[in-house]
Amino acid sequence: MNFWERFEKMDRRWVYLMVGITVFIPFLIPMKFPISVSPEARAFFNAVDSLPDSSTVMLVFDYYPSTIAECEPMTIAGARHLFSKNCKIITLSNIPYGGPSMAESITRRIAKEYGKEYGKDFVNLGYKYGYVSVLKGMGVSIESIFPTDNHGTPLSQLPLMNSVKNYEQIKFIFEVADNATADYWVSIVNAGYSVPMGIGCTAVMAPKCYAYVGAKQIVGLLGGMKGAAEYEILLNKPGTAFRGMDIQSLVHFLIIGLVLLGNIGFFITKKGKKKASS
């Protein structure tokens, strides 16, 4: 078996090893590649930026801890942007595994930077089972679905919630999701109540969400870690997503290199077999 035949039949564990080494390199040698901003991310940023000050916005934590690397930078950047505009933030989650905890820790941490107060400037509604019924129910009354916040405090005791009854008082929905709940927010909330909405999602979901951007059902899209990095650049506060782009760049190059070499090996092997048979 020659080199190309062996390369084509390479054990997948060599590929895993190469990926592992490539991921490790930027930790030793930071590269800081310049990032350009896509039209979809810019539209998202502009939509949030053009909100009147003190608008009430829903910041939705619909992602599992497994996609923290892609989604958390979006929520952090979103919370910073919204607090900098003095927006009132209502956070909630349709994910039982850690959604409310992540919402709590991120909003409290960012709120401290901007001197915001819980109950007046931001509220965490927590989690409720059954996303379809939750989304539909909030269209009638948020209090009917979430009678208390994540800590068990009745909504009537939170000053922010005194002026918010349902979606009519919500000026924008900043949805960050790694699963199909994004589709439900679009088809139920945006379609049924015409609330402007932007989606931040994992890179895998981004191709599907382009359909929503094209149909103007969402104002903008942040796709994966690149989308998060673009938002950080626009906000002028580079964070973990910006640093993660180095790793993503190198791994993409590795995969492209392996694919190209694999195809070269494929054609050389095929040619050799043809010669041998003739």
Partner: protein
């Protein structure tokens, strides 16, 4: 007869009520309230089903331990994990700050320091799997496979900063062309086609279930 008829009748009534309620004002007497009630019932039933799952996993794991089936030691780890996470979180916070679900509790510590990193690790293994899958699958065996290979390579370049910088050296604004014609062109059209097809399929199946034509989900028909 009863085992088949009652679920079919319930499916019909609830399905029809929800369909009709979609076209009526929420404040409509009777029908509007039915749909709200059904949505509330769904939330309540969902809570009970969580208990069903916990009971099931404990029962199966305990049976494996009792019968000393292969890997029974790991079943002990499963049972201990379930109990250690569940019991402290159910106890009132007033008894101890270690109880409950909030910051500082045993539940929160285990979730943030054990479960979250494990979940993130599993997701991260996708990077390795995608590399090996791409290496194996992206071969120019046929014209369609070649087209797939070229498109995938372009999108992989476009998606990262240095790749975009390299594409900018080619004549024409290649990144903008990829965004416009690949992502917002071909990709958009295909995604819409699949979404429409899947939605029609789901709607037809829903209609068959509501009308009682499809009963395979009950194990009958």
């Amino acid at each position: 007869m009863v085992r088949t008829a009652i679920p079919v009748i319930v499916a019909f009534i609830t399905g029809a009520a929800m369909t009709v309620a979609f076209f009526l004002n929420e404040k409509t007497p009777f029908v509007g309230q039915i749909s709200e009630q059904l949505l509330d019932w769904l939330i309540i039933i969902g809570g009970f089903t969580l208990l069903l799952g916990v009971v099931s996993i404990l029962r199966v794991s305990w049976q494996s331990v009792q019968r000393r089936r292969e890997g029974w030691v790991y079943k002990i780890a499963t049972i201990v994990s379930v109990l250690v996470m569940a019991i402290p979180s159910l106890l009132p916070v007033s008894w101890s700050p270690l109880f409950g679900r909030f910051e500082g509790s045993i539940y929160d510590w285990l979730f943030m320091n054990l479960q979250s990193p494990m979940m993130a690790t599993m997701f991260a293994t996708l990077a390795f799997y995608i590399a090996s899958a791409a290496y194996r699958a992206f071969r120019a065996r046929t014209p369609e496979a070649t087209l797939l290979l070229i498109t995938a390579t372009l999108v992989m370049f476009w998606r990262v900063p240095i790749g975009e910088a390299l594409l900018n050296h080619l004549p024409g604004d290649v990144p903008a062309l990829v965004n416009k014609y690949v992502m917002n062109g071909v990709n958009l059209a295909v995604q819409r086609g699949i979404i429409i097809g899947a939605a029609l399929g789901a709607s037809a199946m829903s209609l068959r279930i509501i009308l009682g034509i499809e009963r395979t989900y009950m194990g009958r028909g």
